[in-house]
Symmetry: C2
Subunit: 338 residues, 2 copies
């Protein structure tokens, strides 16, 4: 990812909500990332605490009293470049009030909606929010989108990437017409990152690409050998015919189940097994007659459907290479969902 | 729950995987619970560390090398009564080997399957596993079942409770015929706890009843005013027509979605809102035309579909009474899923 976007002359600002790890963010920065993206104030605090000095909170934070104190403390760190997403005039004005009087204030990026229908204004309304932010005393650094509708399936990705580019182009034009140049034009999700890496986009924010997961492979966004994450599970019961039970359930794999996948994860060594049911600590895996299956007590690798919420269930990664353990990386921002 | 089962002369051993909190377990013990149930060795370690001295791991642990060391350390605690579930001869023998030579060894309960089709042997096979455990040097304390098929819907509960009682009766008979009396006969889930609280059952293990959740209400297992848990969320975006976005997504509410519920949780103050989509940090809530909805910046209470995996996402409970904060209880066993 780093070299592919560098070849296009585009900046990489990976979303660290996937791994929540300062160690992994450092690997990404060492490979050329310009800074990091986070989804919450808590993640920003953790990354800044780990010495990372260029952070974009790609989220329309609503800065209530508790968050205002935390945000002000964060902005008082020396040398930290902090940008925050806004998608409303009220949100921009509140952010400005919460950070009034500080030596350094956050820049903002205006969020536009490329058709994902989650957050973000229509492109032509980006100028009004940008104007409000400027009037409130904030520096508008640019515009951003998230093409989450790429997750509709493999055939949705190209369209979502195109939507991102077109929405950003229209938002840039709207800001320009209002006398507000957009210095940063930021697109991104893992599936759309490369498709959206073209004019006027100058930054992409993929997250899951680093670890990969079953969903990314199904979408064609990761090669099958591009998945770096698995959950180690043990077969704990084989008493009910036609199935085995592993000790990875909803608190290990989550219940994330995209409509185009069967089961709550997959075991690469036993591809015929379907993790049909998960309860808190049990995963029930069914097999067609005659298919290879692990035995009681075996340890199996399970590739989760969606890496991001799974990582948030663990305190650390165990890093391995060629079957040997090479490190243990804390999930520093585990649980920092606010 | 405590008084209802006490009235029937039956012991309560609540499952603490729901709250993972020593403080809440103490409240349950003070209300008359005989001991606690846990689902993992990690939860047992946390509860024992909190001074709780009667613990049942209702799970067919596979005691590998790492777990053997942890289990031995746990068994060396003075005054701890520890019982562990088994559902296979191999599992019982492994448990016996792992705890060989200790002054105190765990008792075991044989798990039978009441039709949940997850773990547990057929009732008539319980005697063979019990015999193997006895021959391996373990004390068989009794039999247990989990009627998880009660979660099929409100009309499944009575049948699942009956299945639990009948399966336990058959397992008790099988053990008796083999010369192995079952001292503890343990049933349970929150929906079935009261229905199964009758001969020969002498212990029940509900968990979710303490906090309640949207699923328990839908099943008729909690009254609507019996839900003690909510997630506090803030409205962060209202830019897309027909919906609002809250800052509670999959890392706050999980993607647990029973087929008989619409949306990933419910807002009691805005019952027409449906939390249709969750991504990591966003919950997209749609409303029918004209329905009351919260405004940008409002804080809303969200009752989750399923309390257990949601609690595992947080470091503490904030306890309130009549709108005032009365305590902060750590989720001590958060993430202790193994």
């Amino acid at each position: 990812m780093a070299s592919a976007v560098a070849d296009r002359g585009i900046a990489l600002r990976p979303h660290t909500k996937t791994h929540k790890s300062v160690s992994l963010a450092r690997i990404q920065l060492d490979a050329g990332a310009r800074g990091v993206t986070v989804g919450t104030l808590g993640e920003a605090e953790v990354m800044a605490g780990g010495g990372i000095d260029d952070i974009f909170i790609a989220y329309p934070l609503w800065v209530d009293e508790g968050k205002a104190g935390r945000l002000r403390a964060l902005l008082e760190r020396d040398g930290l470049e902090l940008a925050i997403g806004v998608d409303s005039t009220a949100g921009a004005e509140r952010l400005a009030r919460a950070t009034g009087g500080l030596r350094r204030r956050p820049c903002v990026l205006i969020e536009a909606d490329p058709g994902n229908r989650r957050t973000g204004v229509a492109a032509e309304e980006a100028a009004a929010v940008a104007r409000a932010a400027t009037n409130a005393g904030l520096e508008v650094r640019g515009v951003f989108v998230h093409g989450g509708h790429a997750y509709g399936g493999a055939d949705a990705i190209a369209g979502a990437a195109r939507d991102e580019v077109e929405t950003l182009a229209a938002a840039v034009d709207a800001l320009f017409a209002a006398g507000l140049p957009a210095r940063v034009v930021s697109a991104g999700s893992s599936p759309t990152a490369l498709g959206a890496a073209r004019e006027p986009v100058n930054e992409v924010r993929p997250g899951t690409y680093l670890l990969g997961d079953r969903q990314q492979v199904a979408l064609g966004a990761s090669p099958p050998n591009g998945v770096a994450i698995c959950v180690a599970a043990t077969v704990v019961s084989t008493t009910v015919a036609g199935q085995i039970v592993i000790d990875a359930g909803a608190k290990a794999l989550t219940k994330d189940l995209p409509p185009y996948l069967a089961g709550y994860g997959t075991m690469p060594a036993y591809p015929a097994g379907i993790i049909e049911r998960v309860s808190d600590y049990h995963g029930v895996v069914t097999f067609p007659d005659g298919a290879a299956r692990p035995s009681l007590g075996d340890i199996v690798a399970v590739v989760p459907n969606h890496a991001c919420p799974v990582v948030d269930l663990y305190d650390s990664f165990i890093a391995t290479r060629s079957g040997s353990t090479t490190g243990r990386w804390p999930v520093d921002a585990r649980g920092r969902s606010g």
